[in-house]
């Protein structure tokens, strides 16, 4: 009986303390979790938390609104900025085309001037041809593969014509971009350039209208050593 009783006592003690041990571990683990959990906080603590979070949210909301407005503003500015960039680029492209910084292609006329005697077509004749083409609104002119610039001058060379110091010899291949009909009629006007030059012995003039003619870019860009820009 005593042995049975001591066994019971033993088992009782053992089990209860086992349960205690289990509960202690559970409590410890739960408490750790609960520390960080909202459910453990008192009503007062939660109220404070609500107030703090509300204030913080309000500030965040205000800042978000400010940034959104700023973004809209700068998106509009970017659009106009981008337009300005495009506009500048287009202006630059156009000026490059017109001033001969880049080669060009388009409709126009090709004039071939043969001078078998080699001495009858002179610098002033070239001058006249260029001028006549410009009167007929030629946008770009090239002579023997050289682009005519604003400062192109023709002079008498040792053997033939000098174009801005460069030697050119017949046959003269003159390409002018513009309205083909207008250019054609300007050159072949009765009593005009083609007629006058063609009447010279050994000189033959041909003018062809074409849709796709090309002119190269200028051989060298103008250098300004004496002329300086004057600001408005």
């Amino acid at each position: 009986m005593a042995a049975l009783r001591s066994t019971r006592i033993g088992w009782g003690l053992f089990l209860t303390f086992a349960v205690l041990g289990f509960l202690l571990v559970l409590q410890f683990r739960t408490h750790q979790q609960v520390e960080a959990d909202l459910a453990s906080m008192s009503v007062d603590e939660l109220s404070v938390l609500v107030a703090t979070l509300s204030r913080e949210s309000e500030r965040l909301q205000a800042e978000v609104v400010d940034l959104r407005l700023e973004l809209i503003g700068s998106q509009y500015a970017r659009k106009t900025d981008a337009e300005m960039v495009d506009e500048r680029r287009r202006s630059r492209d156009e000026l490059e085309l017109v001033t001969g910084a880049i080669s060009a292609v388009g409709p126009g006329v090709r004039m071939v001037l043969t001078d078998t005697r080699g001495s009858l077509v002179g610098p002033y004749d070239m001058c006249e041809i260029i001028n006549e083409l410009r009167v007929a609104a030629a946008r770009a002119i090239a002579v023997n593969g050289h682009r005519v610039d604003f400062n192109t001058g023709f002079s008498e060379g040792a053997a033939g014509i000098l174009m801005s110091g460069r030697h050119i010899s017949p046959p003269y291949d003159i390409v002018a971009l513009g309205n083909p009909a207008e250019l054609h009629s300007a050159l072949l006007m009765p009593g005009g350039l083609a007629a006058r030059l063609g009447s010279l012995p050994g000189v033959h003039v041909e003018v062809h209208r074409q849709e796709q003619l090309h002119v190269p870019s200028v051989d060298r860009t103008p250098l300004f050593q004496y002329a300086t820009r004057v600001e408005d």
Binding site: L71, N131, A140
Partner: protein, 236 residues
């Protein structure tokens, strides 16, 4: 025993009442209020983290824009610089510098009944001759009576008038050219056609010619058309 039972009865009643009232006031009991607040806190925390995320995204976008602005400003600046140079080449800006001034005028008193009355007047071809000589002499800018000459400029005559840049000009014609004055004067002498005009025809027909070297000339900008028309860039 009876007293005890009665007391127990009252206790039971009190308990049930308290419990029931506790139930209906569950919203205001500690547990219920706590649950409500917990929900509010969780909502607020969710809102706050969403707003923070929005804020971060917006900030990134704003920074993008700012860097974009810098790039575009850089582009505009480089385009402007190129445009400035091209404008100079095109003659659409005012320029100043030393050079020569040539004045050509008709004979003020042409003789009557002459065989060739046209000879006593300055013509478009006279102007072309002088201008060509100036370009050969290295002129950097030329203007006739305030009309700047560019690669679109033409000198032609319509009746008694001379048209430069489609503007009617008449005698006296003042041609100004910026460049090395010595080189320009020399070019006028060396160019055959120019020399003939200045020395031979001027004397013969009494045309007024004056060539002066000037220290400071101011040439206006070209104001005419510059459009490329049908012409486009040639893409190699």
């Amino acid at each position: 025993m009876v007293v005890f039972s009665a007391v127990m009865c009252v206790l039971g009643l009190l308990l049930v009442t308290a419990l029931r009232s506790g139930d209906t006031l569950l919203g205001s009991t500690m547990g219920g209020r706590q649950d409500e607040l917990i929900r509010v806190v969780e909502d607020l925390e969710r809102t706050k983290s969403e707003l923070s995320a929005d804020l971060a995204a917006l900030r990134a976008q704003v920074m993008n824009h700012e860097s974009g602005i810098a790039v575009r400003q850089g582009l505009v600046a480089s385009y402007n610089a190129q445009l400035a140079q091209l404008a100079m080449n095109a003659g659409v800006v005012r320029v100043a510098g030393k050079g020569v001034r040539i004045t050509l005028a008709d004979n003020p008193h042409p003789p009557e009944g002459s065989v060739d009355p046209a000879g006593y007047v300055i013509h478009d071809y006279d102007l072309r001759v002088v201008v060509n000589a100036l370009w050969v002499g290295g002129a950097e800018a030329v203007a006739i009576n305030g009309q700047r000459l560019t690669l679109f400029s033409a000198i032609r005559c319509v009746g008694p008038m001379v048209l430069v840049n489609s503007v009617r000009l008449s005698s006296p014609f003042v041609i100004e050219a910026i460049g090395d004055p010595g080189s320009l004067s020399r070019a006028l002498r060396e160019n055959e056609d120019a020399r003939l005009l200045v020395e031979d025809y001027a004397r013969r027909f009494g045309l007024r010619v004056r060539i002066e070297e000037r220290g400071e000339l101011l040439l206006p900008a070209y104001e005419g058309r510059l459009s490329p028309g049908e012409m486009v860039e040639r893409v190699q």
